[in-house]
Symmetry: D2
Subunit: 204 residues, 4 copies
């Protein structure tokens, strides 16, 4: 009966963080927009999709102009060539960039892997990262694995560390991870043993 | 710098339930789809928007074929002509329809009004509802205001009740609201006075 | 090593709603009170425990004076003798009494039973309830099972209904349960099928 | 009417983390215990209160025997005399001790202060801490302020740092705070700027 609405609902369910109920609500919301809004949305979406491209160096999405294949960070001569920082996804990169505390370069992994994954090479850009390290400027001295402090993040960091070890050793690149300790808002009474131990070791 | 991504993020922020962070995440998610997916999404969205239309009788969105201006519920001769049930939005109607417990007709209001609204007539389809009641079949005997048990829902029900009173009286239509009482999961220890009072009065 | 603190912590863990962490925190809190506070607490606790007694009629706890064996509700001649309402625990009774919407008598069950319980008679005061019904005033016409709208509450109501059926039939006592419907705050979009069905049937 | 129950409820409301509803529920729970349980509780509480005493050195509560005025940590010759760690309360000390990662000594502050407090000296044991530092063993080289990463915790650390500065300088004691960074479970996408900046600086 309601083919088109259902088809739209099903596509909307693919969006990250959208469950069946929210997808249905969004579908109705979209069909209630006026023609002008839909035309504008389709145009903006198509424009973004056509012009935003993957930086061949850091793999992040960036709004590229004709002939550009590297993003504004990767082509910025002022950035610190000693540092390369690996993140899971584009918004993580933006979040770090927003702090203003990091001046090196980035690499967007595109996902995480678990210890149980049979074919991790196809879930994240590990081959591209290896290639990037092999072709890296001689000034590169540190590879920072900036992953979440979750099981997924830790397993991914472990996997990468293992895979890049020989290249890193060969090229004298130190592999580091983000500092652990109290996050903003952590109450001492509820802190877990790992975090407490790290907070004690990292005192200053 | 990142015009197209930002433009897309801003449009996505208009979606119900999507904050700035989620909008950014969705924008990146969309531009990372492949061309085929985007084409399909644009086609499905445009199809839905073009074919799904507003039922001239109940005001819900429905997937209409050429020449149809009333939905499958409004044209169903088996439905109970004594009942007309007012809901805020399309998904509320679907939620009620899913119970199988209601066999009458519907009217989708399109929103809620607050006691402070200066121009409530433009926020909800109150004029259309009045027209619907004036033109109603003589068999109609009950108008059910099926609104949320929230301040918004109650103020909206109060507003409608006030506006339709004279027509309802004239045509001997009883105006009712949904029964109050314990909802699934309500624990007696934490129940509020209103709900408890209603649950006592509505015992059976 | 810390015998007394641990012993106190362990007793405090028996309190309803108190986990191991909260129990430890409470233990330290108690030992940090001054002597006066502890003396007062012990006196108030002992006084309450000694004077508060179980009403022989409704089984609630009440602050009894010498020679009183029934509470102020059970001895109140103004209450409605047609109604007897069954609750799980004392605070439920207080919560209902606070609404001012109920003027009949009460019976405190002392717990809930599950369909899987092998010896439900020892978990709740079902025998006492039966005795109460057998000895009830001839004016009693309705037994209200005021239990939570949870699986536990429903199974308990089912169990009681089953057990009191023959006495109720014999004495022409109707067994009712609290009305179901929208609770304060329920949003129509998220309401479950059962609650929606009840809300539709209970409209008024 | 119900004097004793109400009196008990009111005392129970003083317990940390117990609201009015929980206090009432606890009061009923206590009066429903049998005589044996109440006697045992009163005995255990009184025993704990009488025997548990404040360590004159670290100010924590400990189960002391006759003639002992310092706890088992403060009298342990194996602990690291270079370190003194300040915590807000007893359970924080226990939480740190549980990690096994700290081998120095402690000082329990007894609370926190805010920048707005007019008489902070009476809210926390700052004078006792100063005295402790003045009388400290010459081996003491570091004072660790182990407070929560909250506004309260930070303001307290700032207040202490300010007050102990001259003694610390004189005696060459370094004042440190716990390391900041990602806590267990922190997701990169949702991390705040402060934590991210600290995590970058503290990478290893």
């Amino acid at each position: 009966m309601d083919d088109q609405l259902t088809a739209l609902t099903e596509l909307l369910r693919e969006l990250p963080g959208i469950g069946p109920r929210a997808a249905r609500r969004l579908a109705y919301w979209f069909v209630r927009r006026d023609r002008t809004w839909i035309d504008r949305f389709v145009r903006v979406l198509s424009d973004a999709h056509r012009t935003v491209r993957t930086c061949t160096s850091c793999m992040r999405m960036f709004p590229g102009r004709e002939g550009m294949d590297r993003c504004s960070i990767c082509t910025n001569e002022q950035r610190d060539k000693h540092l390369l920082l690996v993140v899971e996804k584009d918004v993580d990169l933006e979040n770090i960039e927003r702090t203003g505390a990091y001046k090196g370069f980035y690499f967007v992994l595109g996902g995480t892997v678990s210890a149980l994954d049979k074919d991790p090479d196809h879930k994240i850009r590990i081959n591209e990262l290896e290639a990037r390290l092999k072709g890296a400027d001689h000034e590169l001295t540190e590879l920072i694995l900036a992953l979440s402090a979750t099981t997924e993040g830790e397993e991914t960091a472990f996997f990468i560390g293992d895979r890049v070890r020989s290249i890193a050793d060969q090229r004298r690149i130190t592999v580091t991870t983000l500092g652990r300790g109290l996050s903003t808002g952590t109450e001492l009474e509820y802190v877990d043993t790992d975090t407490m131990t790290n907070a004690l070791q990292g005192r200053k």
